[in-house]
Structure formats: structure tokens, C-alpha cells
Symmetry: C3
């Protein structure tokens, strides 16, 4: 299975990770490609190291870190995210950060899209250590054509 995580929201990241870890537990080979806003889920907290004033401004607004992802609805300047995080913890659903660690332990391959990293001024040092692969669209397509399930989230 392959999943492209394009969106940078907590709820969509959790959907991607929950499918990925469940598939891995069923013995499937899973690759998660993080692209565009989705890269925020695998960024260390804090601004990215990009150059130029526009990339610096983008980096400042576009906060990374799995704990900083907004909700796709009812985010309410972070209040919705805080409430949803609490509800998820109560329901014993793993957070994005925990799910990323779990996924790598289960053998899910985490891949960062090199083109997006270049555009957004995000370097390898800005990403969490669980991400070890850096690839482009051709590499994704090679993998997807061998996979039974391909999703874009």
C-alpha cells in the first residue's frame, strides 16, 4: 500500500497513519509519502531553515511539528485542535507523533518528497529522524504501480 499525505492537518495525518499502521499489522508493505503541507507532520517543531525572505515568511506561518498540526475543521485558532487531542487521548487513540514512531517500528517506510522540500526550503535537518528516505514523484509512481491500494490524502 502507498499513501501520499499532501494535507497538513492533524485529522488527515491521523487517518493516513491509522491506515498505515493497521495495514502493517496485517503484514502489508506500506510506504507513506509526505509531500507539500503533509511534510509538516514529519518536521521538527520550530521554523524551517529556508533561505530568502519569502521562504522565511512561509516557514514562520507554516509551523511544522506533529503537535502543531491544525484540524481541517473547527480548528478555532488551536482550541479545536487542543480539544480534539484531549478527546483522542481519552479514547486511547495514538497522537500523530506516537503513530509516526509506531509506524516506523512496524516497518512502514516514511518518505519525504524532495521537490516539496526544495520548494518550501525544508532541509533534512528539519525533519524527524524517523524519516530516512528522500525521493521524488518517479520513485512514488514506481512503488504505486506495484501496490494494490494507493490513496491520496
Amino acid at each position: 500500500m502507498t499513501i501520499i499525505l499532501f494535507s497538513g492537518e492533524m485529522d488527515k495525518a491521523l487517518a493516513a497513519l491509522s491506515l498505515a499502521t493497521t495495514a502493517a499489522s496485517m503484514g502489508k508493505r506500506v510506504t507513506l509519502f509526505f509531500t507539500f503541507w503533509g511534510i509538516n507532520a514529519i518536521r521538527k517543531p520550530g521554523p524551517a531553515s529556508g533561505r530568502g525572505w519569502m521562504r522565511k515568511l512561509l516557514a514562520r506561518m507554516n509551523r511544522g511539528g506533529s503537535e502543531n498540526l491544525p484540524l481541517s475543521r473547527f480548528n478555532m485558532l488551536g482550541l479545536g485542535r487542543w480539544m480534539m487531542s484531549k478527546i483522542l487521548r481519552e479514547s486511547r487513540v495514538a497522537s500523530v507523533g506516537e503513530s509516526l514512531r509506531l509506524a516506523t517500528e512496524m516497518g512502514v517506510r516514511l518518505v519525504a518528497c524532495t521537490m516539496s522540500m526544495g520548494v518550501m526550503g525544508i532541509g533534512k535537518e528539519d525533519l524527524i529522524p524517523e524519516v530516512e528516505d528522500f525521493e521524488g514523484a518517479a520513485s512514488y509512481l514506481g512503488e504505486a504501480s506495484k501496490s494494490g491500494i494507493n490513496l491520496f490524502i
Copy 2:
């Protein structure tokens, strides 16, 4: 074919249902999984029965019912939805509620995600009677690996 409807918007629900009913009319076996905000499309109107003040607050904001889904763009506090509904009716496109009934009549399987229901405090009694199956991610993945077309909407 399997479709995960994650989004809670009218336009995306219509896209999912229009693909599902067309596929069913072509003789394909179709399963529609409703998860996260997508569950709003199969909720009865009115607040969900969740416990705890946070779930109650979420239930109040996150209105269910196929007639209450916002547009993903130009919703304008409901004015856009109202206009789009009128335009769709003029164009003889079935509404979300009508499409759900049509889909079940055509044999499309409607499945509600049990994890999302738990997190959002939505019980079986909060869902429309057309939904008869309640399953998790493992069950979706089993079905998707046997399907030729798998979409995440």
C-alpha cells in the same frame, strides 16, 4: 470499488455518491466507508448523543444530517450551500440524502467507521437506518485489497 469519505462537505459527499451509484449501475460491488467528518453525511439531523462537555460542544458545532453539510468552498454561512442545492435540483442532480437511499437500493454497502464513532461520541442510534455495517480500518483494508478502484475523498 471502495471509497473512504473522510470529508464532511456536501460537494465531496456528492462526488463519492455519484461515483458509487454509477459504479453500482455498471454492476460493480461498491463499499462506501464513512469516517471522521464524513460520518456527518449519514447522521440524523440534530446533535449526537456523546458524553462529556467536550464531545457535547463538538456535537453542537459539528452538525450532522445530509441536508446540513456545508460546501467546501463559498459556503458563506450556508448561503452557498443553499444556492448550490437549488442549482443541483434544477440540474436534476440527486441530493446527498436521495443519493444515499438510491445507493442502498442499488446494493452499495454503507459502512460507518467504529473508531470515528467512538471518538466523536456518535452512537448507532445517531445514524440513518440505511447504515447497517460498523467496521474498522482492518476491515476496510481487507476489502480494498480485493478492489480495483480505491479512492479517499
Copy 3:
């Protein structure tokens, strides 16, 4: 490979086109279906020719043209789009308009969804000349069931 572009945002259109052109360069047969807001990416700039005051109002708000697509995040009334376009140009990433021309040159089939065109009051004369095919959901499903990779963006 088939891709449904449902979303009308620049970043999502670029993701779809970048996957489509890369796949075509690898020798794959690719079809891009533009539906709902996604049709904006293949519209000529300016309002659509729809009839009735509601369609006219929708056409005025829902601006078409590949250069007018907003960002899905940080659009900031167009400032974010302007900045992202500049960053993309600096990074030598082709714009949506350029990618559409490149895609057709590489043999990617661009298809406009006839139902969406009807609903939104968009005629063939409102679309760029690169779009030569006008089809419905059944035609998409026929193609998707023969494809190894099917994405909904």
C-alpha cells in the same frame, strides 16, 4: 493511471499535474479528470457563460483560469498564491498553465466532467483548447478499472 482533480486549488492542481507528467515520462497512459472546483484549472480566465442569476453569481465568485487558483492554505486574499508562484518559479517548478500544456504534449488525456460543467454553467467555449474530451462518471470508472493507480485529489 487516472487522477480525478476535484479541488480547485493551485497546490493540489500542481500535485496532480506533477504526478501526471512524471507518469507520462515513464511511459504510462495517464488520464486527468477535472470535476467540480477542479474544472477551474482548465477554465479560461474570466467569468463562465452560465445562465440564471445564481449561476452568474457563482461564476463571478468562482474565478477560473490556471493563474487564478488560490492556495489551499495561507492564501491570504491572493498574497500567499503570489508568493508561492514566485517561490515555484525560482525553484524552476512549472506553473499550472505550463504543466497543462506540457501534459498534453506528453499525451496525457485531459477530460472535463460533463455533469459538473452542466451544474456550474460552464460551456466548452469556457475551457482551454487543450481539453478535447468531455465525459461522465461511467467513462471515468471504465478507465479506472483498467488502471493500476487511481487517485482522487
